[in-house]
């Protein structure tokens, strides 16, 4: 028995040593490739992103002054469009998706024509611009799970309209969803810049939520750095889907002011 135990301990020791060695070599090589990626990302960033986002990433590049929607300040580490809980950092995929798809109704174009390796290297570089990404207390990230959608039906839209009114979404976005609520003139972001609440009846004004799923995600994550909160803890899953269906219906011109036009819906 003792012999067996000794053999077992020895085997365990060798196994542990081998595993440590393997992890160390992996970590070293990963770190090495990361550095290459960051260096490449810096070069691509300087060419493609710096004119708007600035050399140091603070969003004040030479082009930014002529843009009404100001470029993101990467030094703050605050991002609107994420799949993570309110107040959290975005995932690599969130950043990659923005670079790849662009943001509608802003000056941020889609860089889908750029190689995925280059896009990813820019993600790696952008993360070095804010200390938040190297702060271990920010991890692990809590990604929001998109539940099974509630069908886009008249009943769901009607319920969504009730939620819209009860949650005072209209105070910013307006009773008709046109972004002209009583609080709209005074809405500012965390940096004090005035921001115009989205006109939900203009499909082309909507930056990211162009499907019920994406609208649901915005209600669940909130938009960091803006007054748009997360409703993950306030509304039930079903209510968020109903609200998403209602907002989607607004952007598709199915307007239901006080329910008067609901009869036109098929």
């Amino acid at each position: 028995m003792k012999m067996k135990t000794k053999v077992g301990k020895f085997t365990a020791l060798v196994a542990a040593f081998s595993l440590s060695l393997a992890l160390y070599s992996c970590a070293t090589s990963f770190n090495g490739s990361d550095q290459v990626s960051v260096a490449r990302g810096k070069a691509v960033y300087h060419e493609a992103c710096a004119p708007c986002h600035g050399d140091n990433g603070d969003g004040s590049g030479p082009v930014s002054v002529s843009l009404r929607t100001k470029p993101r300040d990467f030094k703050l580490g605050v991002y609107k469009f994420r799949s993570t809980a309110s107040g959290e950092l975005p995932t690599n995929y969130d950043l990659l998706r923005t670079i790849n798809s662009g943001i509608y109704h802003t000056a941020m174009p889609s860089f889908a024509q750029m190689s995925i390796a280059d896009q990813y290297s820019v993600v790696e570089y952008i993360k070095t611009l804010s200390p938040a990404f190297s702060d271990s207390s920010q991890y692990p990230l809590d990604t929001v799970r998109i539940s099974t959608p509630i069908p886009y039906t008249l009943n769901s839209i009607e319920r969504g309209r009730e939620v819209y009114l009860n949650m005072h979404c209209w105070s910013c976005h307006g009773i008709t969803g046109e972004g002209n609520g009583p609080a709209a003139p005074t809405v500012t972001d965390d940096e004090g810049h005035h921001i115009q609440p989205t006109n939900l009846t203009h499909y082309w004004d909507i930056k990211m939520g162009r499907s019920p799923q994406k609208i649901y995600l915005i209600f669940s994550t909130g938009l960091n750095g803006t007054p748009m909160p997360s409703y993950a803890q306030i509304l039930t899953d079903k209510q968020r889907w109903d609200l998403a269906n209602y907002v989607y219906s607004l952007s598709h011109k199915d307007r239901f002011y006080d329910g008067k036009q609901l009869s036109n819906m098929h």
Binding site: A43, V44, H46, E47, A48, C49, A50, P51, C52, G54, D55, S60, G61, P62, V63, S64, V65, S66, L67, R68, G102, Y104, T106, A107, M108, P109, S110, F111, Q113, M114, S115, D118
Partner: protein
């Protein structure tokens, strides 16, 4: 005489009403903005003035910086095609003094401008094209299509894809000076130095011309070194190279001071052309250009260019000229409201001819692709040797619409 301001006011009202109507219908946006789903102001400080991103877009073969597209235009949606038209009302007041006798004239005209057609994009990886074809109005019901520029570009021939280090282009195009004359905010007054050609030939530094060039951009050097080296055979094409040819060299360095661009460009354009008296004029133009944004508000853009010109055979004599311009663009409201001004000067040393031109204007954009402007321009052309002095005042009210 009293009717002129009244008519002008009516036409002004009509122009404003036209813009208001057009604005409501302006759902479409021009070519590149439409293709990449971004506002015109992504690449323009105020159209057609390019910002730093637009300059990088242009030099990368009309594709996003950092990318090298491979999809041909026939596989792309929407169609790579756009139109621009820019009608205007112009009131011209001219006072001419010749031999001590003064005459004056007033003229109010509507300039319909025609329609400019643009198409551009990628054909294959490392290969793109640009074509500008204005359809001018030559008379009642008469239209004259022409090709202003057309070029084939081979992009990113060396260095990382999308960084535009080394490119080649061939065709009829404008050479890339720091301030190309097709990207100025001033609509009614030309750059005087670019139009200077005492030989009466076709070689003008800023006009489209048949040429082949090597050009590129190095973002790795400070905030970007741009260069172009070209050989040209004159603006009309088909001219024999032994009578018309010019070489062009341009170097331009940009550095950001607190994210405000500061640019210094040097250029040389020299060669020979067949002058009007059928003798060969050896000519050269060289100078420098400076552009600076104020680093505090970044809303003031100052531009300056100096040019020296020498022509060795203008009716048998050598002629030299010094000239330039100083311009200021001010961005009052981003993407909306702009004011601007420019002073141009030309001094011809042998004839003592002096031209001084002041221009000022305002521009308002109802939408990124719909703008209206009002400009006032004053040109004093004084030639003591001929005993003549002409003063011209232009008041222009115009609309710019792209779709």
């Amino acid at each position: 005489m009293r009717l002129v301001p009244f008519r002008f006011a009516i036409l002004l009202g009509f122009a404003v009403a036209s813009v208001a109507v057009t604005t409501n219908q302006a759902g479409a946006i021009p070519l590149f903005a439409r293709k990449y789903h971004v506002s015109c102001f992504r690449c323009h400080t105020v159209p057609p003035v390019l910002n730093d991103y637009g300059r990088r877009f242009q030099i990368n073969g009309y594709q996003l910086p950092g990318t090298d597209e491979s999809e041909p235009i026939w596989a792309q949606e929407p169609l790579s095609l756009s139109f621009v038209f820019y009608p205007s009302f112009v009131s011209a007041h001219t006072v001419t003094t010749t031999g001590g006798i003064k005459t004056s004239s007033n003229e109010l005209t509507f300039q319909p401008s025609g329609l400019d057609l643009f198409t551009a994009g990628t054909i294959a990886k490392h290969l793109s094209y640009f074509l500008a074809a204005p359809i001018g109005i030559t008379g009642p019901g008469q239209y004259s299509p022409s090709i202003e520029t057309m070029s084939i570009m081979f992009n990113n021939l060396a260095g990382p894809d999308g960084q535009s280090n080394l490119n080649f282009r061939f065709g009829r195009f404008r050479l890339w000076n720091t301030f190309p004359d097709n990207t100025t905010i001033v609509e009614s007054a030309d750059y005087l130095i670019y139009d200077y050609n005492p030989a009466g030939g076709t070689l003008l530094i800023a006009d489209p011309q048949w040429a082949a060039s090597v050009y590129g951009f190095f973002p790795q050097i400070l905030d970007g070194l741009r260069y172009e080296a070209a050989v040209s055979d004159g603006t009309d094409g088909g001219d024999p190279l032994n009578s018309n040819e010019a070489n062009f060299l341009m170097l331009e360095q940009t550095a950001y001071i607190d994210n405000a661009p500061f640019r210094l460009g040097l250029y040389y354009y020299g060669g020979k052309e067949l002058a009007v008296n059928n003798v060969t004029d050896n000519m050269n133009r060289y100078g420098f250009a400076v552009e600076a944004n104020d680093p505090w508000t970044k809303r003031f853009d100052l531009s300056f260019q100096y040019m020296s010109a020498t022509d060795d055979n203008i009716v048998g004599i050598k002629q030299t000229m010094d000239g330039g311009f100083l311009g200021l663009n001010v961005l009052i409201v981003p993407e909306k409201f702009f004011i601007y001004g420019r002073y141009d000067f030309v001094d011809v040393n042998q004839t003592s001819e002096k031209q001084n031109q002041w221009t000022g204007g305002i521009r308002y954009h109802f939408a990124p692709n719909v703008g209206a402007y009002a400009e006032l321009s004053y040109l004093d052309d004084n030639t003591p040797a001929a005993g003549s002095d002409t003063k011209t005042t232009l008041t222009t009210l115009g609309v710019l619409v792209g779709f």
